[in-house]
Protein backbone atom coordinates (compact mmCIF):
# COMPACT_ATOMS: atom_id res chain seq x y z
CA UNK A 1 0.00 0.00 0.00
CA UNK A 2 1.14 3.51 -0.68
CA UNK A 3 1.18 6.02 2.15
CA UNK A 4 -1.99 7.53 0.79
CA UNK A 5 -3.77 4.20 1.05
CA UNK A 6 -4.05 3.86 -2.71
CA UNK A 7 -3.02 1.02 -4.95
CA UNK A 8 0.26 -0.69 -4.29
CA UNK A 9 2.86 -0.17 -7.00
CA UNK A 10 5.99 -2.22 -6.82
CA UNK A 11 7.77 0.66 -5.13
CA UNK A 12 5.75 0.20 -1.96
CA UNK A 13 5.81 -3.57 -1.58
CA UNK A 14 8.88 -3.67 0.60
CA UNK A 15 6.97 -4.91 3.59
CA UNK A 16 8.59 -7.19 6.06
CA UNK A 17 6.07 -7.87 8.77
CA UNK A 18 7.22 -6.15 11.90
CA UNK A 19 5.24 -8.66 13.93
CA UNK A 20 7.42 -11.51 12.80
CA UNK A 21 9.59 -12.91 15.54
CA UNK A 22 13.28 -12.77 14.77
CA UNK A 23 15.44 -14.62 17.19
CA UNK A 24 19.12 -13.80 17.23
CA UNK A 25 22.01 -14.20 19.55
CA UNK A 26 23.00 -11.13 21.47
CA UNK A 27 25.05 -10.18 24.47
CA UNK A 28 21.93 -10.68 26.57
CA UNK A 29 21.03 -14.04 25.09
CA UNK A 30 18.36 -14.69 22.50
CA UNK A 31 15.92 -11.88 21.90
CA UNK A 32 12.65 -11.99 20.03
CA UNK A 33 11.61 -8.89 18.10
CA UNK A 34 9.16 -7.99 20.84
CA UNK A 35 11.80 -8.44 23.54
CA UNK A 36 14.21 -6.32 21.55
CA UNK A 37 11.63 -3.53 21.37
CA UNK A 38 11.15 -3.68 25.12
CA UNK A 39 14.91 -3.60 25.72
CA UNK A 40 15.23 -0.62 23.38
CA UNK A 41 12.44 1.12 25.29
CA UNK A 42 14.31 0.53 28.57
CA UNK A 43 17.48 1.96 27.12
CA UNK A 44 15.62 4.96 25.67
CA UNK A 45 14.04 5.77 29.02
CA UNK A 46 17.21 5.20 31.05
CA UNK A 47 19.45 7.21 28.73
CA UNK A 48 21.58 4.16 28.05
CA UNK A 49 21.03 4.25 24.34
CA UNK A 50 23.64 6.89 23.58
CA UNK A 51 26.56 4.53 24.13
CA UNK A 52 25.14 2.02 21.67
CA UNK A 53 25.35 4.35 18.67
CA UNK A 54 29.15 4.54 18.69
CA UNK A 55 30.67 3.31 15.42
CA UNK A 56 34.08 2.65 13.94
CA UNK A 57 34.96 5.84 12.08
CA UNK A 58 36.30 4.02 9.03
CA UNK A 59 33.88 1.12 8.58
CA UNK A 60 30.76 2.47 10.24
CA UNK A 61 30.38 -0.81 12.15
CA UNK A 62 28.71 -0.63 15.55
CA UNK A 63 31.32 -1.09 18.26
CA UNK A 64 29.01 -2.37 20.98
CA UNK A 65 28.25 -6.11 20.82
CA UNK A 66 24.99 -5.42 22.65
CA UNK A 67 24.01 -2.86 20.02
CA UNK A 68 24.68 -5.30 17.20
CA UNK A 69 22.59 -8.03 18.80
CA UNK A 70 19.78 -5.78 19.94
CA UNK A 71 19.37 -3.88 16.67
CA UNK A 72 19.52 -7.08 14.63
CA UNK A 73 16.62 -8.48 16.64
CA UNK A 74 14.43 -5.40 16.15
CA UNK A 75 11.62 -5.46 13.61
CA UNK A 76 12.28 -3.85 10.25
CA UNK A 77 10.07 -0.79 9.79
CA UNK A 78 9.88 0.34 6.18
CA UNK A 79 7.90 2.97 4.27
CA UNK A 80 5.48 0.14 3.43
CA UNK A 81 4.88 -0.92 7.03
CA UNK A 82 1.26 -0.43 8.08
CA UNK A 83 0.59 1.51 11.31
CA UNK A 84 -1.30 -1.50 12.68
CA UNK A 85 1.90 -3.56 12.41
CA UNK A 86 3.73 -1.01 14.56
CA UNK A 87 1.16 -1.49 17.31
CA UNK A 88 1.51 -5.27 17.04
CA UNK A 89 5.27 -4.93 17.35
CA UNK A 90 4.95 -2.89 20.54
CA UNK A 91 6.45 0.22 18.96
CA UNK A 92 3.18 2.13 19.32
CA UNK A 93 0.32 1.98 21.78
CA UNK A 94 -2.31 3.32 19.40
CA UNK A 95 -2.80 4.66 15.89
CA UNK A 96 -3.78 8.33 15.61
CA UNK A 97 -7.51 8.94 15.54
CA UNK A 98 -8.82 9.72 12.05
CA UNK A 99 -5.60 8.71 10.29
CA UNK A 100 -7.31 6.80 7.49
CA UNK A 101 -9.64 9.70 6.71
CA UNK A 102 -6.68 12.07 6.66
CA UNK A 103 -4.82 9.88 4.17
CA UNK A 104 -7.87 9.38 1.97
CA UNK A 105 -8.89 13.05 1.83
CA UNK A 106 -8.46 14.68 -1.60
CA UNK A 107 -5.03 16.23 -1.96
CA UNK A 108 -5.47 18.07 -5.25
CA UNK A 109 -8.01 20.68 -4.28
CA UNK A 110 -8.65 24.41 -4.60
CA UNK A 111 -5.98 26.50 -2.93
CA UNK A 112 -3.40 23.75 -2.53
CA UNK A 113 0.10 25.11 -2.91
CA UNK A 114 2.01 23.24 -5.60
CA UNK A 115 5.37 23.30 -7.33
CA UNK A 116 5.16 24.19 -11.01
CA UNK A 117 7.59 25.33 -13.66
CA UNK A 118 6.92 28.68 -15.30
CA UNK A 119 8.68 31.91 -16.05
CA UNK A 120 9.42 33.12 -12.53
CA UNK A 121 11.52 35.87 -11.05
CA UNK A 122 14.27 35.02 -8.58
CA UNK A 123 15.84 38.44 -8.41
CA UNK A 124 14.93 39.92 -5.04
CA UNK A 125 13.12 43.24 -5.23
CA UNK A 126 13.67 43.99 -1.56
CA UNK A 127 14.03 42.09 1.70
CA UNK A 128 10.32 42.20 2.46
CA UNK A 129 9.10 40.54 -0.74
CA UNK A 130 9.51 36.85 -1.50
CA UNK A 131 11.08 35.67 -4.73
CA UNK A 132 9.54 33.16 -7.11
CA UNK A 133 6.67 35.26 -8.46
CA UNK A 134 5.55 35.12 -12.08
CA UNK A 135 7.30 37.28 -14.64
CA UNK A 136 6.77 36.82 -18.36
CA UNK A 137 10.30 37.98 -19.10
CA UNK A 138 12.07 35.81 -16.51
CA UNK A 139 13.72 32.45 -17.16
CA UNK A 140 11.77 29.24 -16.67
CA UNK A 141 12.15 27.61 -13.30
CA UNK A 142 10.28 26.07 -10.41
CA UNK A 143 8.16 28.18 -8.15
CA UNK A 144 6.53 27.22 -4.87
CA UNK A 145 4.18 30.20 -5.14
CA UNK A 146 1.43 28.51 -7.14
CA UNK A 147 -2.01 27.33 -6.08
CA UNK A 148 -4.45 24.95 -7.69
CA UNK A 149 -7.59 26.63 -8.97
CA UNK A 150 -9.48 24.25 -11.30
CA UNK A 151 -8.95 21.69 -14.03
CA UNK A 152 -9.55 21.72 -17.74
CA UNK A 153 -9.19 18.51 -19.75
CA UNK A 154 -5.64 17.23 -19.18
CA UNK A 155 -4.48 20.38 -17.40
CA UNK A 156 -4.77 21.92 -13.99
CA UNK A 157 -5.34 25.65 -13.92
CA UNK A 158 -2.90 27.19 -11.50
CA UNK A 159 -2.74 30.65 -9.97
CA UNK A 160 0.86 31.80 -9.85
CA UNK A 161 1.51 34.89 -7.78
CA UNK A 162 2.19 37.78 -10.10
CA UNK A 163 0.41 36.24 -13.12
CA UNK A 164 -2.62 38.09 -14.47
CA UNK A 165 -4.53 34.93 -15.32
CA UNK A 166 -4.49 31.23 -14.40
CA UNK A 167 -1.76 29.19 -16.04
CA UNK A 168 -2.56 25.73 -17.48
CA UNK A 169 -0.14 23.01 -16.39
CA UNK A 170 -0.36 19.38 -17.51
CA UNK A 171 -1.78 17.19 -14.75
CA UNK A 172 0.99 14.66 -15.23
CA UNK A 173 3.57 17.36 -14.60
CA UNK A 174 1.82 18.56 -11.48
CA UNK A 175 1.77 15.00 -10.19
CA UNK A 176 5.43 14.48 -11.09
CA UNK A 177 6.44 17.60 -9.21
CA UNK A 178 4.19 17.17 -6.18
CA UNK A 179 3.71 13.46 -5.50
CA UNK A 180 6.02 11.95 -2.86
CA UNK A 181 9.32 10.33 -3.70
CA UNK A 182 9.00 6.53 -3.91
CA UNK A 183 11.20 4.26 -1.83
CA UNK A 184 11.44 1.01 -3.82
CA UNK A 185 11.94 -2.38 -2.29
CA UNK A 186 15.44 -3.49 -1.42
CA UNK A 187 18.36 -1.19 -0.88
CA UNK A 188 17.81 2.36 -2.11
CA UNK A 189 20.60 4.76 -2.97
CA UNK A 190 20.01 8.48 -2.47
CA UNK A 191 22.97 10.72 -3.28
CA UNK A 192 25.15 7.68 -2.72
CA UNK A 193 23.71 6.95 0.74
CA UNK A 194 22.69 3.30 0.96
CA UNK A 195 19.30 2.90 2.62
CA UNK A 196 18.41 -0.64 3.68
CA UNK A 197 15.59 -0.97 6.20
CA UNK A 198 16.79 -4.46 7.10
CA UNK A 199 20.16 -3.08 8.20
CA UNK A 200 20.33 -3.50 12.01
CA UNK A 201 21.76 -0.05 12.59
CA UNK A 202 18.97 1.69 10.66
CA UNK A 203 16.40 -0.53 12.38
CA UNK A 204 17.77 0.73 15.69
CA UNK A 205 17.38 4.37 14.68
CA UNK A 206 13.89 3.98 13.23
CA UNK A 207 12.59 2.01 16.22
CA UNK A 208 14.23 4.39 18.71
CA UNK A 209 12.67 7.36 16.93
CA UNK A 210 9.24 5.73 17.04
CA UNK A 211 9.52 4.88 20.73
CA UNK A 212 10.59 8.43 21.54
CA UNK A 213 7.40 9.91 20.09
CA UNK A 214 4.98 6.98 20.53
CA UNK A 215 2.91 8.62 23.25
CA UNK A 216 2.47 11.80 21.23
CA UNK A 217 1.59 9.84 18.10
CA UNK A 218 -1.11 7.98 19.99
CA UNK A 219 -2.55 11.31 21.13
CA UNK A 220 -2.81 12.72 17.60
CA UNK A 221 -6.37 13.37 16.47
CA UNK A 222 -6.83 14.21 12.80
CA UNK A 223 -10.29 15.55 13.59
CA UNK A 224 -8.69 18.29 15.66
CA UNK A 225 -8.19 21.66 13.97
CA UNK A 226 -4.74 21.92 15.54
CA UNK A 227 -3.48 18.60 14.20
CA UNK A 228 -1.17 20.20 11.62
CA UNK A 229 0.81 21.94 14.35
CA UNK A 230 1.06 18.67 16.27
CA UNK A 231 2.20 16.81 13.14
CA UNK A 232 4.81 19.47 12.49
CA UNK A 233 6.17 19.23 16.04
CA UNK A 234 6.51 15.46 15.76
CA UNK A 235 8.23 15.58 12.38
CA UNK A 236 10.59 18.23 13.68
CA UNK A 237 11.47 16.07 16.68
CA UNK A 238 12.15 13.06 14.48
CA UNK A 239 14.20 15.05 11.96
CA UNK A 240 16.20 16.53 14.86
CA UNK A 241 17.56 13.06 15.54
CA UNK A 242 19.82 13.49 12.51
CA UNK A 243 22.90 14.93 14.20
CA UNK A 244 25.59 15.18 11.56
CA UNK A 245 28.33 17.64 10.76
CA UNK A 246 29.04 19.11 7.35
CA UNK A 247 31.73 17.33 5.35
CA UNK A 248 35.18 18.24 6.63
CA UNK A 249 33.86 19.81 9.86
CA UNK A 250 34.00 16.78 12.13
CA UNK A 251 35.74 13.48 12.67
CA UNK A 252 32.68 11.25 12.34
CA UNK A 253 31.99 8.47 9.87
CA UNK A 254 31.80 9.75 6.29
CA UNK A 255 30.84 6.66 4.28
CA UNK A 256 27.58 5.58 2.69
CA UNK A 257 25.87 3.58 5.46
CA UNK A 258 22.85 5.50 6.60
CA UNK A 259 22.69 4.02 10.09
CA UNK A 260 26.26 4.99 10.84
CA UNK A 261 25.85 8.48 9.38
CA UNK A 262 22.68 9.41 11.23
CA UNK A 263 24.20 9.95 14.66
CA UNK A 264 27.51 11.79 14.53
CA UNK A 265 28.41 11.16 10.92
CA UNK A 266 29.49 13.79 8.43
CA UNK A 267 28.36 14.67 4.94
CA UNK A 268 27.40 17.46 2.57
CA UNK A 269 23.80 18.71 2.38
CA UNK A 270 22.78 16.05 -0.15
CA UNK A 271 23.98 13.31 2.19
CA UNK A 272 22.38 14.78 5.30
CA UNK A 273 19.00 15.17 3.67
CA UNK A 274 19.20 11.59 2.30
CA UNK A 275 19.79 10.39 5.85
CA UNK A 276 16.82 12.44 7.09
CA UNK A 277 14.70 10.98 4.29
CA UNK A 278 15.63 7.46 5.38
CA UNK A 279 14.50 8.18 8.92
CA UNK A 280 11.33 10.06 8.02
CA UNK A 281 10.01 7.85 5.20
CA UNK A 282 8.83 5.02 7.49
CA UNK A 283 6.85 7.61 9.51
CA UNK A 284 5.00 9.06 6.51
CA UNK A 285 1.93 6.83 6.68
CA UNK A 286 1.74 7.07 10.45
CA UNK A 287 1.97 10.84 10.69
CA UNK A 288 0.22 11.49 7.36
CA UNK A 289 2.76 13.39 5.31
CA UNK A 290 4.40 13.23 1.90
CA UNK A 291 8.15 13.43 1.47
CA UNK A 292 10.00 14.77 -1.58
CA UNK A 293 13.77 14.56 -2.01
CA UNK A 294 14.65 17.94 -3.45
CA UNK A 295 17.59 19.21 -5.46
CA UNK A 296 18.03 22.93 -5.30
CA UNK A 297 20.38 25.84 -5.36
CA UNK A 298 21.17 28.77 -3.12
CA UNK A 299 20.34 32.13 -4.56
CA UNK A 300 23.10 34.23 -3.04
CA UNK A 301 25.99 32.01 -4.15
CA UNK A 302 24.30 29.97 -6.86
CA UNK A 303 25.63 26.67 -5.54
CA UNK A 304 23.85 23.31 -5.36
CA UNK A 305 21.87 22.51 -2.25
CA UNK A 306 19.86 19.45 -1.24
CA UNK A 307 16.90 19.41 1.15
CA UNK A 308 13.55 17.67 1.73
CA UNK A 309 10.02 18.93 1.24
CA UNK A 310 7.30 17.67 3.59
CA UNK A 311 3.60 18.09 2.77
CA UNK A 312 1.20 17.41 5.63
CA UNK A 313 -2.10 15.64 5.11
CA UNK A 314 -4.84 16.67 5.14
CA UNK A 315 -3.86 20.34 5.56
CA UNK A 316 -1.36 20.20 2.65
CA UNK A 317 0.85 22.66 4.50
CA UNK A 318 4.42 22.45 3.19
CA UNK A 319 7.73 22.51 5.02
CA UNK A 320 11.43 22.09 4.35
CA UNK A 321 13.67 19.67 6.26
CA UNK A 322 17.31 20.70 5.96
CA UNK A 323 19.59 19.07 8.53
CA UNK A 324 22.78 20.48 7.02
CA UNK A 325 21.50 23.97 7.76
CA UNK A 326 20.17 23.09 11.21
CA UNK A 327 16.55 23.31 10.10
CA UNK A 328 14.55 20.22 11.14
CA UNK A 329 11.32 21.76 9.88
CA UNK A 330 10.83 25.21 8.37
CA UNK A 331 7.67 26.56 6.79
CA UNK A 332 8.22 26.40 3.01
CA UNK A 333 7.22 30.04 2.55
CA UNK A 334 10.00 31.05 4.91
CA UNK A 335 12.47 28.44 3.66
CA UNK A 336 12.30 29.75 0.09
CA UNK A 337 11.58 33.41 0.83
CA UNK A 338 14.71 34.97 -0.58
CA UNK A 339 18.44 35.38 -0.22
CA UNK A 340 18.24 38.27 2.21
CA UNK A 341 16.59 36.28 4.99
CA UNK A 342 19.09 33.55 5.63
CA UNK A 343 16.64 31.08 4.11
CA UNK A 344 18.31 31.03 0.78
CA UNK A 345 17.19 28.13 -1.34
CA UNK A 346 15.18 27.45 -4.46
CA UNK A 347 13.92 24.23 -5.95
CA UNK A 348 15.43 22.92 -9.17
CA UNK A 349 14.22 19.33 -9.31
CA UNK A 350 13.92 16.05 -7.47
CA UNK A 351 16.07 13.01 -6.89
CA UNK A 352 14.54 9.56 -7.19
CA UNK A 353 11.21 8.56 -8.66
CA UNK A 354 7.65 9.53 -7.92
CA UNK A 355 4.31 7.99 -8.77
CA UNK A 356 2.38 9.89 -11.44
CA UNK A 357 -0.75 7.73 -11.42
CA UNK A 358 -3.04 9.51 -9.00
CA UNK A 359 -6.48 8.03 -8.28
CA UNK A 360 -9.49 10.19 -9.27
CA UNK A 361 -10.70 10.35 -5.67
CA UNK A 362 -7.53 12.26 -4.77
CA UNK A 363 -8.68 15.16 -6.96
CA UNK A 364 -11.45 17.56 -5.93
CA UNK A 365 -11.24 20.48 -8.33
CA UNK A 366 -14.00 22.14 -10.34
CA UNK A 367 -13.93 21.65 -14.09
CA UNK A 368 -13.53 24.89 -16.01
CA UNK A 369 -14.37 25.01 -19.70
CA UNK A 370 -12.60 27.13 -22.24
Amino acid sequence: MRPDGGQSPAAWTNSQSVASTVAVSSARGVLSARQAVERLRELTESGGLEALWVVDRQSGELLSPEARGLFAALPAVTPATAPEELVEAGLLTAIPSGLRQALEAPRYKVGRGVFVRATVNYKPVDRTRPVGDFSSTAPVGFTHRAQLRAMRADNFLVDIEGASAPVPVAKTDVFAWNEPTSFPSGTVSLSGVQIDYNDPHLKGHVCAALLAVAADIAALDFGDAAVAAAQARLISRIASRVTMTYAGRGDGYAGSRVGALLHGGQGVCFVQRAVAAALLAPMARLLAFDLQVAVGRTQRLGVAHGFLVVTLRPSLARFVVDPAWGEPLTDLRVACFGPGWGHDRRLEGFEGTSEVRVPPEAIALPEEHA
Partner: protein, 99 residues
Protein backbone atom coordinates in the same frame (compact mmCIF):
# COMPACT_ATOMS: atom_id res chain seq x y z
CA UNK B 1 39.88 6.89 3.53
CA UNK B 2 40.38 6.93 -0.21
CA UNK B 3 39.79 10.46 -1.40
CA UNK B 4 38.26 10.87 -4.84
CA UNK B 5 37.33 14.55 -4.81
CA UNK B 6 37.92 17.70 -2.77
CA UNK B 7 35.06 20.00 -1.85
CA UNK B 8 35.75 23.65 -1.27
CA UNK B 9 33.22 24.66 1.37
CA UNK B 10 32.21 27.81 3.16
CA UNK B 11 29.78 28.76 5.87
CA UNK B 12 27.85 31.84 6.79
CA UNK B 13 25.27 32.18 9.56
CA UNK B 14 25.42 28.45 10.20
CA UNK B 15 24.59 27.54 6.59
CA UNK B 16 27.43 25.51 5.10
CA UNK B 17 27.64 25.04 1.34
CA UNK B 18 29.94 23.36 -1.14
CA UNK B 19 31.23 25.99 -3.52
CA UNK B 20 33.05 23.75 -5.97
CA UNK B 21 34.29 20.16 -6.33
CA UNK B 22 37.84 19.59 -7.58
CA UNK B 23 40.09 16.65 -8.24
CA UNK B 24 43.26 17.81 -6.48
CA UNK B 25 43.92 19.22 -3.06
CA UNK B 26 46.33 21.78 -4.42
CA UNK B 27 43.76 23.12 -6.80
CA UNK B 28 41.12 23.08 -4.05
CA UNK B 29 43.31 25.08 -1.66
CA UNK B 30 44.13 27.58 -4.40
CA UNK B 31 40.43 27.96 -5.17
CA UNK B 32 39.65 28.40 -1.48
CA UNK B 33 42.01 31.36 -1.29
CA UNK B 34 40.55 32.78 -4.48
CA UNK B 35 37.03 32.57 -3.09
CA UNK B 36 38.07 34.04 0.24
CA UNK B 37 39.48 37.07 -1.53
CA UNK B 38 36.74 37.46 -4.12
CA UNK B 39 33.81 37.19 -1.72
CA UNK B 40 34.79 40.75 -0.88
CA UNK B 41 32.24 42.70 1.08
CA UNK B 42 30.13 39.67 1.99
CA UNK B 43 32.71 37.16 3.14
CA UNK B 44 31.75 33.82 4.58
CA UNK B 45 32.60 33.25 8.24
CA UNK B 46 34.78 30.24 7.44
CA UNK B 47 36.27 28.33 4.54
CA UNK B 48 37.65 24.80 4.39
CA UNK B 49 38.44 21.90 2.09
CA UNK B 50 36.61 18.60 2.69
CA UNK B 51 37.77 15.23 1.45
CA UNK B 52 35.09 13.18 -0.28
CA UNK B 53 35.43 9.41 -0.49
CA UNK B 54 34.21 6.99 -3.13
CA UNK B 55 31.53 5.39 -0.94
CA UNK B 56 29.33 8.40 -1.02
CA UNK B 57 28.60 9.70 -4.47
CA UNK B 58 26.95 12.92 -3.40
CA UNK B 59 29.78 14.78 -5.08
CA UNK B 60 28.35 13.65 -8.42
CA UNK B 61 25.15 15.51 -7.59
CA UNK B 62 27.07 18.56 -6.54
CA UNK B 63 29.08 18.53 -9.75
CA UNK B 64 25.96 17.99 -11.88
CA UNK B 65 23.98 20.67 -10.12
CA UNK B 66 26.86 23.12 -10.15
CA UNK B 67 27.27 22.73 -13.88
CA UNK B 68 23.96 24.59 -14.29
CA UNK B 69 22.57 21.64 -16.18
CA UNK B 70 19.03 20.93 -15.09
CA UNK B 71 18.43 17.97 -12.84
CA UNK B 72 15.17 16.12 -13.01
CA UNK B 73 12.65 18.82 -13.55
CA UNK B 74 10.01 17.07 -15.54
CA UNK B 75 10.46 13.40 -16.19
CA UNK B 76 9.58 12.18 -12.73
CA UNK B 77 8.82 8.66 -13.79
CA UNK B 78 12.43 7.84 -14.46
CA UNK B 79 15.35 8.09 -12.13
CA UNK B 80 18.12 10.41 -13.14
CA UNK B 81 21.67 9.31 -12.77
CA UNK B 82 23.70 11.98 -11.03
CA UNK B 83 26.19 11.98 -13.84
CA UNK B 84 23.62 12.47 -16.55
CA UNK B 85 20.93 14.88 -15.51
CA UNK B 86 17.95 14.79 -17.79
CA UNK B 87 16.58 17.75 -19.60
CA UNK B 88 13.87 19.57 -17.81
CA UNK B 89 10.44 19.85 -19.28
CA UNK B 90 8.44 23.01 -19.24
CA UNK B 91 4.71 22.78 -19.26
CA UNK B 92 3.50 26.09 -17.96
CA UNK B 93 2.86 28.77 -20.49
CA UNK B 94 5.45 31.47 -20.57
CA UNK B 95 2.98 34.27 -21.13
CA UNK B 96 1.08 33.89 -17.91
CA UNK B 97 -2.03 34.99 -19.72
CA UNK B 98 -3.59 31.59 -19.41
CA UNK B 99 -6.16 30.53 -21.87
Amino acid sequence: MIVVRYAVCSERQGKAVTRVILESRTEAERTLEHLRQNDGTTPESSYWVAELGPECESWRWLVAASSSEPVKGGAATSAVAPTSPSASKTSATASGKGV
